[in-house]
Amino acid sequence: MNEQNNKKANILCWISLVCAFGPWVLWMVTDKLKDVAAENLIGEALGIICNVADALSLFGWLAALVLMIYVRIKYPRNVFGKILMVLYIIVIILVILFIVFMYIMCSTFVSGCESCIVELRGCDS
């Protein structure tokens, strides 16, 4: 890979990194705004703005992933791209483990050992 391509790939990797971790700042802001929204007259409108910001922040993460994949396919020898790939895979695994942990600990979406179906009617009903 020539120097110019390597430079281009590195720039894309930096943009990807900003897209991935920039939204964390947005989450911190929306978190504070949600507290304000709870005790304010314009709470509902503020709440909607926070929800739009949450959705956009995750969109940033998607853009980061797309850029990383683009670099890995177009510039496969770029080292920064390889590091980014490992980093994102680790983050995704940690997020999945966190969700599984939360499901088990908080009993959210957990409905007990028995099947949820208590009655299945046959043709005789």
Binding site: N51, A55, F109, S111, E119, R121
Partner: protein, 230 residues
């Protein structure tokens, strides 16, 4: 400690089974292994994002994406976006990617709908005939309901079986639009049997189904014109 919900188990199983099938089919088509891995990574994330985003948008951003429930149809939109993006990055494999992922889409949807049937979410209209189902869990109490989720599972698994047979035979020219049309018809008609649909003429799900249907018809016409031109 409580047991894990059957919904989560079915949901995860749907992903594992479907992406294993995608991997085998794409490998057979000669797509490099690392490229298959990248496409799966992107599509899994986009399915989850699309599924949650659809719920947020249809509720007018009244709920956060982090607490929103998952919509299967939104997940399907996410997957189609993922295939489109990956096709732009890797144009050589565009056709293989579209044909393979769209063939497996009904399998993914069919298995995950079975999870809804077990838990009771997206349940059917009140009904007391054969196969009516009642729920009594922490998550859902009520019934008897029409087992619409089970019907959706059966319909989509049927579409998958028919599609995979055509896929393996190699006659794939119109496979993508035909699957999209069949899925749109199945989802559109079964949506009338959901309790959530009562009192509505067309639900948000059905509006998306109409778009999928029209897209399928337009693609079929384009394919036919291409044959005539050739």
């Amino acid at each position: 400690m409580n047991a894990i919900s059957p919904y989560s188990v079915t949901f995860v199983s749907a992903f594992i089974v479907s992406f294993a099938v995608v991997f085998l089919l794409l490998k057979k088509r000669g797509v490099p292994t690392n490229y298959i891995g990248y496409s799966i990574l992107l599509n899994v994330v986009l399915i989850l994002y699309g599924g949650k985003m659809f719920t947020v948008v249809t509720r007018g951003f009244q709920i956060s994406i982090f607490t929103a429930g998952f919509s299967g149809l939104g997940g399907a939109i996410g997957l189609l976006m993922g295939i489109w993006i990956f096709g732009k990055i890797y144009p050589k494999g565009r056709t293989s990617l579209w044909e393979t992922y769209v063939t497996v889409l009904p399998l993914l949807y069919g298995i995950s709908k079975f999870g809804c049937y077990l838990v009771g979410c997206c349940h059917g209209i009140p009904y007391e005939g054969p196969m009516a189902v009642c729920y009594n869990s922490q998550y859902m109490k009520g019934g008897p309901y029409f087992p619409v989720q089970l019907m959706e599972s059966i319909a989509f698994l049927g579409i998958f079986l028919a599609s995979i047979l055509i896929y393996l035979r190699g006659n794939r020219r119109n496979l993508v639009p035909v699957i999209m049309i069949l899925c749109a018809i199945a989802k559109f008609s079964l949506d009338y049997l959901r309790e959530e649909h009562l009192g509505k003429i067309l639900s948000a799900n059905q509006l998306v189904c109409i778009e999928f249907f029209l897209w399928g018809i337009i693609t079929l016409r384009k394919n036919r014109n291409k044959i005539h031109e050739a």
